[in-house]
């Protein structure tokens, strides 16, 4: 393996089934040291199974796992420099907060002074000072989550795994915690791998993310590139809204139900589908005569969303997201411009 200095985690051809049901289908994954990586997908896509295999809580049926260049495929969790924040936090209900955080250090027989110092630092870092003597059931959801983080981070793991850590929090708290988590990761420089089904969370937090479906990773990349250049319909629709247009190649243009369109990158297929984000479609009252990628349309329905206005237009229907200050309503005539670089040719075949 070359260039493994940068590589924090390598998963090669991991396969896992439960009772005949395939949960992971030969998954490959590379996570760089120090990055915030997210496994994103709907429930049942295998993301938690993959996380548990990385943690050592589950053995893959086949395939290999490398941590920092060292193979750990058959090592138990206790022998991996990886710690986990569980979905339910799994705090020890009978131990107070100090004991909870000190658990991993005591298990490895650290010196009492060292334990005290490191636990104190961790609690400080997560603003939990003063709660040392409390029991888990006396804490709020947000506090529990920070204890779970402190308990994992105090061990200075190579990789921190987070299994849907926000799912038990209120919506308004979630945004705040996401920002804190991002800052924490930047400060520590530890590799974080997050599992979530929430695409906003994945966008906000990750350096890179992998979209999973049916036990497979179907696209990996930075949030910006995955969002703007989805390779298939599932990714396009799972990460935000998308217009999907069946299309056929004709010379240097692509013919759709809306008319001929030009793309900045020509598709590799003869017949397939295009995707375009609703907010990338530009809206004008009049179209410049003779220009390409302009289409006349009529508003069928307008949905006010506060920060934006969603329009459903005929022909199509095409969905356009625009400034909410606009005053368009059903029946209004408009011109749409499809920027060639906003049109993405999807790789997958129609289902």
């Amino acid at each position: 393996m070359t260039g493994q200095i940068e590589l924090g985690l390598l998963v090669a051809q991991a396969r896992k089934s439960f009772g005949g049901q395939l949960a992971l289908r030969d998954v490959d994954l590379e996570v760089l040291t120090g990055e915030f990586f997210t496994l994103l997908g709907p429930s049942g896509c295998g993301k938690t199974t993959l996380l548990r295999i990385i943690a050592g809580l589950e053995l893959p049926d086949s395939g290999r796992i490398f941590l920092g260049g060292r193979e750990v495929t058959h090592l138990p969790a206790a022998k991996r420099q990886v710690n986990t924040v569980f979905q339910s936090y799994a705090l020890f209900p009978h131990l107070n907060i100090f004991e909870n955080v000190a658990f991993g250090l005591k298990a490895r027989s650290f010196e009492p002074d060292e334990i005290k110092r490191r636990v104190g630092d961790s609690l400080d870092m997560l603003e939990l000072t003063g709660l040392e003597k409390r029991l888990p059931h006396q804490l709020s959801g947000g506090q529990k989550q920070r204890v779970a983080l402190a308990r994992a981070l105090v061990n200075e793991p190579e990789i921190l795994l987070l299994d849907e850590p926000m799912s038990a929090l209120d919506a308004h708290l979630r945004t705040q915690v996401q920002e804190e988590l991002r800052r924490l990761q930047r400060r520590l420089g530890t590799t974080f791998i997050l599992v979530t089904h929430d695409q906003d969370e994945a966008m906000v937090l990750s350096d890179r993310l992998a979209v999973m479906k049916d036990g497979q990773v179907i696209q990996t990349g930075a949030p910006r590139s995955v969002y703007s250049k989805p390779t298939n319909q599932f990714v396009a629709e799972f990460l935000g809204a998308a217009n999907i247009l069946p299309a056929r190649r004709d010379g240097d243009q692509v013919v759709t139900d809306l008319g001929p369109l030009r793309l900045s990158e020509a598709p590799r297929w003869q017949e397939g589908r295009l995707a375009i984000r609703p907010e990338r479609i530009q809206l004008e009252d009049e179209s410049p005569g003779g220009a390409f990628n302009w289409i006349r349309a009529r508003v069928r329905e307008a949905v006010y969303r506060g920060e934006s206005l969603d329009l459903w237009l005929d022909p199509g229907p095409v969905r356009v997201r625009t400034d909410s200050r606009g005053h368009l309503g059903p029946g209004d005539q408009v011109s749409l411009f499809f920027p060639p670089d906003a049109l993405v040719a999807l790789d997958d075949q129609p289902m």
Binding site: G56, L59, R70, T73, P76, A78
Partner: protein, 306 residues
């Protein structure tokens, strides 16, 4: 640690967060569970099975077991003796069954209101109620039963009241009587019904009860459709814990029912004690065992038809 991938011969599994050799794990489990299992097998399972053999043996002249197998004890149980047929033993078995059944039913009838009442108390009060139910058990069953004798004696108000109403002759006691036996039995077995039932009642989904109350008019329907299915696990444990010992109990009827109320428990004790007829005692034990298991099987079957 790449050598770990090479060991294909051992079947490694992930188990509660650890990676273990499946066989090693089972050996460790056997080290823990083995001694108590061997204990229960040698002192309980095997002797129970041996009883079946003894039941077919015969009694020697000095009370020893003579290993000549025959169905003689079974015939005797059915009532064929030297002096023709008499159903004495069968009647005793039936009477034991009747006492156990009535006791169990009364316990169920009392345990439901009791556990519902407890479940509706505040948290702290619930602990107190549960403790209160167990406390009387720290006096022995013989003493508690004898205490009923005191309570039902002629000098005390219950007996006087009964005499005034004409149920017993003036100056008479309320024992020996059926009432006394059932008072003793129910007060002995009620906790065995109430405690397991409470475990289920506490977890009852009260919203479902509300819904049921909205949907149906009758209390019986609410009970059958909402309460019974949800409390069935606790109820069935309670039924076993009550019915099984009630079937074999004889101290209570001995003390409160007078000498004429022979139950199968007395009979077995008699065979293993004064009569020194172990084979017939074993046959009676088998009969009791089969009746108990058959009743339990019947009551297991019922929930499925609900």
């Amino acid at each position: 640690m790449t050598e770990s991938t090479g060991r294909k011969a051992r079947k490694m599994i992930s188990w509660r967060g650890d990676v273990r050799d499946a066989r090693e794990l089972r050996l460790a489990g056997l080290a823990l569970a083995g001694p108590p299992l061997v204990w229960l097998a040698t002192l309980l399972a095997l002797p129970c099975a041996a009883l079946a053999l003894v039941a077919l043996a015969a009694r020697g002249p000095y009370g020893q077991i003579v290993w000549s197998f025959s169905a003689a004890n079974f015939k005797r149980l059915l009532g064929y003796g030297l002096f023709g047929w008499s159903p004495d033993f069968l009647l005793i078995l039936l009477r034991s069954l009747e006492v156990a059944l009535v006791t169990t039913v009364v316990c169920v009838l009392l345990a439901y209101p009791l556990t519902f009442h407890i479940a509706c108390r505040p948290r702290k009060a619930r602990v107190w109620w549960l403790t209160l139910i167990i406390v009387p058990f720290w006096t022995n069953v013989v003493v508690r039963t004898y205490a009923w004798l005191l309570l039902l004696s002629p000098q005390l108000p219950p007996a006087k009241l009964a005499a005034w109403a004409g149920f017993v002759p003036p100056g008479g006691a309320l024992y020996p009587s059926e009432l006394a036996v059932y008072l003793g039995m129910v007060s002995t077995f009620l906790p065995f019904m109430a405690l397991p039932l409470y475990a289920s009642v506490e977890r009852l989904d009260w919203d479902l009860l509300e819904a049921a109350r909205d949907l149906y008019a009758g209390r019986w329907t609410v009970f059958r459709q909402a309460i019974l299915p949800q409390t069935l696990p606790g109820l069935s444990v309670g039924l076993v814990m009550t019915f099984v010992p009630a079937m074999a109990m004889f101290v209570v009827s001995d003390i409160l029912g007078g000498a004429k109320q022979m139950l199968v428990g007395n009979l077995i004790q008699l065979q293993f004690g004064q009569a020194r007829d172990w084979p017939f005692g074993a046959m009676l034990s088998m009969a009791l065992m089969i009746m108990t298991l058959a009743s339990l099987a019947l009551c297991r079957r019922r929930p499925k038809n609900l």
